[in-house]
Symmetry: C2
Subunit: 166 residues, 2 copies
DNA sequence: CTTGGAAAGTCAACAAGGCTGACGTAAATT
DNA sequence: AATTTACGTCAGCCTTGTTGACTTTCCAAG
């Protein structure tokens, strides 16, 4: 008994060693996860922050700046720097809110959608390969554990798309 | 058939929508994954880079600077900045290699081990909660998918601890 | 024994992308 | 009319990554 949990046989997957493996798996896998988009972005004037903004605007067209702020978990100033360049370069369009004119509804332009597609194609290709190699049962478990690992607020962001006020 | 794969019934988990969910799960879960250690580090003079160094020195006591460089995937200059502060503050100790005197074997001091424990306790607690909530089968799948997602070189880092030349 | 290369350390300069604090404006709400 | 909300922006700071250049120490091969 290396593990101090003292639990029954079914708890062997909760040993410190198993947990350490899980932690390192997250670390190394996240590197792979971001590698392909990063490769596309490098050279262009953009980085991972731009990718994230583009991703979530694509996911929730018409979302507001506040919504995006909550989803990304960064400050207004930080997001603004990124958003400004995307708007200047004609990848993102902002439209004055129709019900609340203080809001800015964000949309990808054709050009923005094109970059989004390139980025997500690359990222999905890796994801698809991993899913295919692991099989449907593993994928189910993968999603279950990741969801359990999120902060409750993030879990809500993940589950519901309640910011589609396009 | 929303999915264009045209495959059999067993491939429904490979739809773009499923893949998008997986991508966002990674994004949100990684935030949770780093949140607790980040909270401990903030206020101290250290950041996530210090955490990573401490983690891998703990995992492979006596590892060399080159090994650490390969594991972390950063430049020598970047690691050195981090390592220097950890050594100055007495968290990490470097011993001249006994077989190859050019090498520096890295070890945590008692003080370093103490911080390591605080950080990994926090991170493991979240991991343990997620594992427990998801169950052993899900954990198995989680690890399988993450491993499939890594770059081959990182997978080797993950699987073998071949740098324990303490 | 000399010499080439490897391991490590360091200086300088720069960039991305976080952060705080302070302020301004327009529009909604009270 | 006053307050609050949504957004934008200026200025400055920090961490952590990058390149490039150079040094010291040491191993190993000629």
């Amino acid at each position: 008994m290396v593990d101090g949990s003292g639990g029954g046989e079914g708890l062997l997957f909760l040993t410190d060693e198993q947990l350490r493996k899980g932690i390192e798996a997250m670390f190394f896998a996240y590197r792979g996860f971001t590698a392909d988009p990063d490769r596309i972005l490098e050279g262009m004037d953009y980085g991972r922050a731009h990718h994230r903004a583009i991703h979530f605007i694509h996911r929730s067209p018409g979302t507001t700046v506040s919504n995006l702020l909550a989803t990304l978990g960064v400050t207004k100033q930080s997001l603004n720097r990124v958003l400004r360049s995307l708007i200047e370069d004609g990848l993102v369009e902002q439209r004055v809110g129709r019900t609340d004119k203080r809001e800015r509804n964000l949309h990808l332009t054709a050009k923005g959608a094109e970059l989004e597609r390139a980025l997500s194609d690359a990222q999905r290709a890796r994801m698809r390969a991993a899913y295919r190699a692991a099989g449907p049962a593993a994928v189910q478990g993968f999603r279950t554990v990741l969801e359990a690992m999120m902060d409750p607020e993030m879990r809500r962001q993940y589950q519901g798309l309640r910011d589609t006020n396009a």
